[in-house]
């Protein structure tokens, strides 16, 4: 065997856990991709009627600030532009919620779920460290989220052209990147908590709590001055608080959330390597 093929075999051996995770998750991924594309299509189909109806905006403007804060990431609203409209509908709640649900489901299954199902004992009978298994399963979740967000972005681009929404490519890329990073954050909490504790229920619970808390902190900080100082700690705020579809991705915030996700995975890996398997 030549050095090159040996190195390639070594690389594919080390990536086998991740590749296996991707192979196993294909069916679920296809269903989720269809759901995201369908969601975009539905919102795009409603756009002409929203655009031509000023009463919507007037109605929204009469709502209390607290209420508006819960529906939009930034609290401001411009229903007369596609970015403003999708900012509420897609980026405000449903988009982040769906990607978080996907990430938490996949993340809690990655270690703790498989451990409860018994397969982890078989996987770990191979000569591969627990940390490497964790890292590859996390990478697989990240790759799947990237695929989902790419499909979402492409669908958004297509419907933007069809419905004359004039969303820029950069705006679309910013929006799906922000959504994807929010999913990566929630997924990292789920994987790390599952790896550290071995409980899929704890993984799901903690990750859902983190996602909901980051959403609530962002929303409530707009109406409660007491929460204002902690708003920058909310990944929801850092990623979606400036309406990335309208104003682009805040790179510092995005990198901060990504760093938090990586630190969570590292901590989860350390605790995973030191605990008993169930």
């Amino acid at each position: 065997m030549s050095a090159v093929t040996a190195a390639r075999a070594g690389a594919s051996r080390r990536a086998e856990i991740g590749l296996q995770a991707l192979r196993g998750g294909r069916r679920a991924l296809a269903i989720w991709a269809a759901a995201f594309a369908g969601l975009i299509a539905m919102y795009a189909a409603f756009w002409p009627s929203i655009r031509d109806n000023n009463q919507w905006r007037e109605l929204f403007d009469t709502l209390p600030q607290a209420y508006r804060a819960m529906f939009t990431a930034s609290g401001t609203l411009n229903l007369s532009t596609p970015a403003g409209y999708l900012g509420i509908e897609l980026m405000g709640i449903l988009g982040p919620a769906l990607i978080a649900i996907y990430a938490i489901t996949a993340g809690s299954a990655a270690i703790a779920g498989e451990e409860a199902a018994g397969g982890l004992e078989v996987t770990l009978s191979a000569p591969i460290s627990r940390g490497l298994v964790l890292a590859q399963r996390f990478t697989a979740v990240v790759v799947n989220i990237a695929v989902l967000m790419t499909v979402t972005g492409i669908t958004l681009g297509i419907f933007s052209a069809l419905m004359d929404m004039r969303l820029g490519e950069a705006a679309i890329a910013s929006a799906v990147t922000a959504l994807g990073l929010f999913g990566i954050f929630a997924g990292a909490v789920a994987i790390a908590a599952g790896a550290a504790t071995g409980s899929a229920a704890a993984a799901r619970g903690l990750a859902a709590l983190a996602a909901v808390a980051s959403y609530l902190i962002n929303g409530l900080a707009q109406v409660t001055s007491a929460l204002r100082p902690v708003r920058p700690l909310s990944p929801f705020y850092l990623l979606l608080g400036n309406e990335p579809l309208a104003h682009g991705l805040r790179v510092t915030g995005a990198l901060a959330v990504l760093a938090v996700a990586v630190v969570l995975i590292l901590c989860g890996g350390i605790l995973f390597a030191r605990r008993d398997l169930h």
Binding site: R13, E121, S125, A126, P127
Partner: protein, 301 residues
């Protein structure tokens, strides 16, 4: 026993869960080229021992080693040459045995399709059906195949033949013997002595996390009790056979003596010589009874 050459070594291995002592200072060794039968009732600590050897659990005290490598700290290196069958085998239901074997082979960095095909033939494993569709026995066969694939020289097998039909069991034992003759070390747990009797060179018996005894199968057979029945021409006096070494459960009923005998026959023969013996019958109780007697209680099976 030469400690240097031991492949598997447990040194005062202890595992405690809160107040529950799962394993209490277990020490034993498995040499290359031998099958150590690991016997005990359910809950005795057999599975805990094997999982400690795989580095899935951290010992509370003591150590488990495979080829001089610590099972907890060097678990990746330990796994490189170890085949493992979990006691509670649960495979990915949607994957076929072939797919799982391929996955594990790739993780081990080698390709052993030929090996898998050969084992599948011998153990009669359906390689292409999803394991979720297999019966419990067929799934167990798949698990045995996965543990043996890649020709590991250390085998940790937790109740390997549970659910296997006798023909497959026989073939499995043949495969094991071949591996052992090639130098592999096997630790095979079971709660049924008759299985261990067929493949093991030595037997370790544990109960409540402690080693009860560890000896060769021949030694265990020596411990096996014989039931002796003697018929006399005239009734010997009562109490004539009490206190004969090795003799227990003496029942003298007129001309008929019934007793249990363990160890050397000589004292009984000498004692019988004083009387007119018409007929003598002796048969070995099977090891299962010996095993149960050693436990001092009936096992769960």
């Amino acid at each position: 026993m030469e400690s240097q050459s031991a492949v598997i070594r447990l040194e005062s291995l202890t595992k405690r869960y809160g107040r529950v002592m799962a394993l209490d200072g277990l020490s034993m060794e498995v040499l290359p080229g031998e099958v150590l039968g690991f016997l005990g009732p359910n809950g005795a600590g057999k599975t805990t021992t094997l999982r400690l050897l795989m580095g899935y659990l951290r010992p509370t005290a003591g150590s488990a080693q495979v080829r001089g490598l610590d099972s907890w700290r060097d678990r990746v290196a330990v796994h490189a040459r170890t085949g493992y069958l979990p006691g509670d085998l649960r495979l990915w239901p949607r994957l076929s045995t072939r797919a799982i074997a391929g996955h594990l082979a790739r993780l081990r960095g080698h390709d052993h399709d030929l090996d898998t095909a050969d084992l599948a033939k011998r153990l009669d494993v359906d390689l292409d059906r999803p394991v979720g569709e297999l019966s419990k026995g067929n799934r167990q066969k798949a698990g045995v195949l996965l543990a043996l694939a890649g020709d590991p020289d250390v085998l940790l097998l937790d109740e390997p033949t549970s659910g296997l039909d006798p023909l497959v069991q026989q073939e499995f034992h043949r495969v094991l013997r071949e591996r052992v003759e090639a130098g592999a070390a096997v630790l095979l747990s079971s709660h049924v002595l008759s299985e261990v009797e067929r493949v093991a060179d030595r037997v370790a018996i544990i109960r409540s996390g402690r080693l009860l005894m560890l000896e060769s199968l021949a030694g265990l057979r020596e411990r096996a009790r014989h039931t002796v029945e003697v018929r006399f021409g005239t009734p010997p006096p009562p109490g004539a056979f009490t206190g004969v070494p090795g003799i227990t459960d003496v029942r003298l009923d007129g001309c008929l003596l019934r007793c249990s005998m363990q160890g050397v026959v000589d004292p009984l023969i000498k004692a019988l010589g004083k009387y007119h013996v018409v007929d003598l019958n002796s048969h070995e109780e099977d090891l299962e009874d010996t095993f149960v007697a050693l436990y001092g209680e009936v096992t769960s099976q």
